[in-house]
Symmetry: C2
Subunit: 428 residues, 2 copies
């Protein structure tokens, strides 16, 4: 059982440090070889990395984006508030254990109580923490059902902005990929670790909540660390160049965390939390791949290789949206994605994006079923997402190659203190 012991050892090391326990492998590699610009910064380190579950904010928001995502939405099936609370408490206990590389339950997953089901499903038994984070959110339906029923006595505590996102132009939403009373965002540098986390939370939820939909993602289409190379989406373009990073405290305070000032006595439970917008955005891969490079760059508003704005400079230079080229037309077109997404076009608002690429086999028409699972954390969707998406859905040139097919909005409560559980402020 050396695998289990190793996981526990690594997990305790991470917890004991009270913060990021970076695997020694990466640091040693960089020091010994000077290859830190060749190896992707967090590869190799990923296995030994452990992030603490407890803290003022939930992990998985400003955490540097891991390589893999398993996102799940749940419907609450119980009518008992006590059962729901007990499940959320059990989720926090299991999540804290799994993020430090321990099994989901206290029992050894493979010894002892032979006549009971194991309290960990076992497939991550030999694997280290792999940078796992588990982030829990609450959908509008948890507070009040569509017909107005106050299911769990929470209706008065629903923030006004926590409501189903409006129908945007060109939305083609599949109800089976949308909404949900609860969400779990599990991110890790090993997909088996992320899948294991969601599976064990679903197992713990049995009888209280059931899976509504889930989504796997890969490839870090966004980054929250200044050091990382900007990842690329499946259009082949860099995605996340101007993202908010973990180091930008002022931007996080202004655009990501819900401030005390946005809450009142009934919604104070969300102070220090955030809102999570989830959108499954299908890309029409084949038409895109037959589009000229000129057209691709024009609708994005950046070069494909470097990711520089079409107004000039390099990737991290600000686009000059006013600069005109031949015939007086702006170099960054009026319908270019980068223009419509730019803070200056959106009253200065920004989002912390954390999306992942996905590929889910093929569509019934024989096309690759692939795209971007867009995830963004914002202070308030009414100001920081809905106006921008309304404009982009109608005007963005990229929309010719996109279709929004899934949608969810969740309030993400603040982190739990040591010994506490995620959501305790809401149910107190």
């Amino acid at each position: 059982m050396s695998g289990v012991s190793r996981r526990r050892l690594l997990g305790l090391a991470g917890a004991g440090a009270g913060g990021l326990a970076l695997g020694v492998g990466a640091a040693a590699t960089a020091a010994a070889t000077g290859l830190d610009d060749v190896l992707r910064p967090d590869r190799g380190a990923g296995d030994g990395t452990a992030y603490p579950f407890h803290g003022p904010h939930q992990a998985g928001i400003t955490t540097p984006a891991q390589d893999h995502l398993h996102f799940a939405a749940f419907d609450v099936t119980t009518t008992s508030r006590d059962d729901l609370v007990a499940m959320l408490q059990a989720w926090s206990v299991a999540a804290e254990r799994m993020t430090r590389g321990a099994p989901a339950g206290e029992g050894d997953p493979a010894s002892g109580a032979y006549d009971a089901p194991p309290d960990d499903t076992g497939e991550a038994m030999d694997l280290p923490p792999a940078g796992l984070t588990i982030t829990i959110g609450f959908g509008p339906g948890l507070f009040q059902t569509a017909d107005g029923t106050d299911r769990f006595g929470l209706a008065a505590r629903r923030p006004a902005s926590l409501e189903r996102l409006p129908h945007f132009p060109a939305d083609a939403l599949d109800p089976a990929r949308s909404d949900g009373d609860l969400c779990v965002q599990a991110c890790a540098d090993d997909p088996q670790v992320a899948v294991h986390a969601v599976r064990n939370l679903a197992r713990i939820a049995f009888g209280t909540a059931s899976l509504r939909w889930s989504q796997l993602g890969f490839g870090r289409t966004a980054t929250t660390s200044d050091e990382q190379v900007t990842p690329r989406n499946l259009f082949g373009f860099k995605d996340g160049t101007a993202n908010i990073t973990a180091q930008q405290d002022d931007a996080l305070a202004e655009h990501v965390w819900v401030p005390d000032a946005d809450t009142d006595a009934s919604t104070a439970w969300l102070a220090g939390g955030s809102y999570l917008v989830a959108r499954r955005i299908a890309m029409t891969i084949e038409p895109w791949d037959r589009t000229s490079l000129r057209e691709q760059e024009a609708v994005v508003g950046r070069t494909k290789g470097e990711g520089a704005p079409l107004s000039g400079g390099t990737e991290h230079d600000e686009p000059d949206l006013a600069m005109a080229g031949r015939g007086g037309l702006p170099l960054v077109a009026e319908n270019a994605h980068v223009r419509l997404a730019h803070p200056s076009t959106n009253g200065g608002v920004r989002m912390l994006r954390r999306g992942y690429n996905y590929t889910d086999g093929i569509t019934p028409l024989g096309r690759l079923d692939a795209g971007l699972f867009f995830l963004a954390f914002v202070r308030d969707p009414a100001t920081h997402y809905v106006p921008m998406q309304t404009r982009m859905s109608a005007q963005d040139g990229l929309m010719e190659y996109l279709q929004h097919v899934g949608s969810g909005l969740f309030a993400v409560p603040p982190g739990a203190p040591e010994g506490g559980w995620v959501g305790q402020q809401l149910f107190a």
Copy 2:
């Protein structure tokens, strides 16, 4: 454009060595820290690893199993043999380039011909080779359609064993996840690299062949290296303990490669190749997770933690299928998976397994849609797969928790020499 340059640099280094060019990162890490038993052996190394495309056998068979799989099956849509040959030639050229980390086409993916579509889709532009292998196979339909049409003049060259697998007991096959004229197995340590490879081959195939189905997988449920820790399947058990490894030349010759002796003048093109059996095996995760550890171990025939046979010893000890316990019953039950899969129960035949775990969201019933994408390379499916699977489908205790929902059989030709292309022996 430093990303492209770096990829080319790494790629050339790999090709120049004429063999496995292991990224310096892993070796340096192990030497500097002695942590080779903590880090998974091929993590960290994965990014810089490049396997040569050309050689006597195709890569991706005895290659140590990478972390990620994108498998695709294609229907040939052209009626022109010349077009088919041209596509296979183009596939080999692109595959050789991508496996050394270069773009799929000669043009820089992001400069030059602005008015043409890029000849690489770009999403792997900043990524190193990541151990990519591309393995190409031919389905029965390439030789002869179901109604007997000799589509491309190949009917006389079809080996007798290359026919649709029989219907096994309890099979519940979905035609949309089964069969195909061609297959591509792309494996890499970065999922974006594997997805990129299949996407670009599909792009090159446009007008000649179209995607029929595809499957993503993760987690290395099998291993072909003596050094790797045996990975676990989604039942939480080690899977691949007794697998054939790349070092076992005798076993490869006896069980994996098609020998000259198995071919005649019309089928000599397959000598040095293999057969690939692909099966999508859905696991009923939730019932399994509510089964006692005793029952789980009994139907597998091994302990869950260590992976030791229930007859005693440790993981790599041979199971003693005759050893009796209480009441004279065998310690390894008559219906245990390990007994029915054991070579001694199957006339001594073995397979080189190379399967991957998969999780594809949830089923319409709200269950995790997860399981094993079983891949096995064998010398002859008529002797090395069909008899075993017939017995297992009827008798294996695990079948209570399994459903075979997809199936394919492909002949995998030998590797192409430098300057050659995969399949040239068949079309010569």
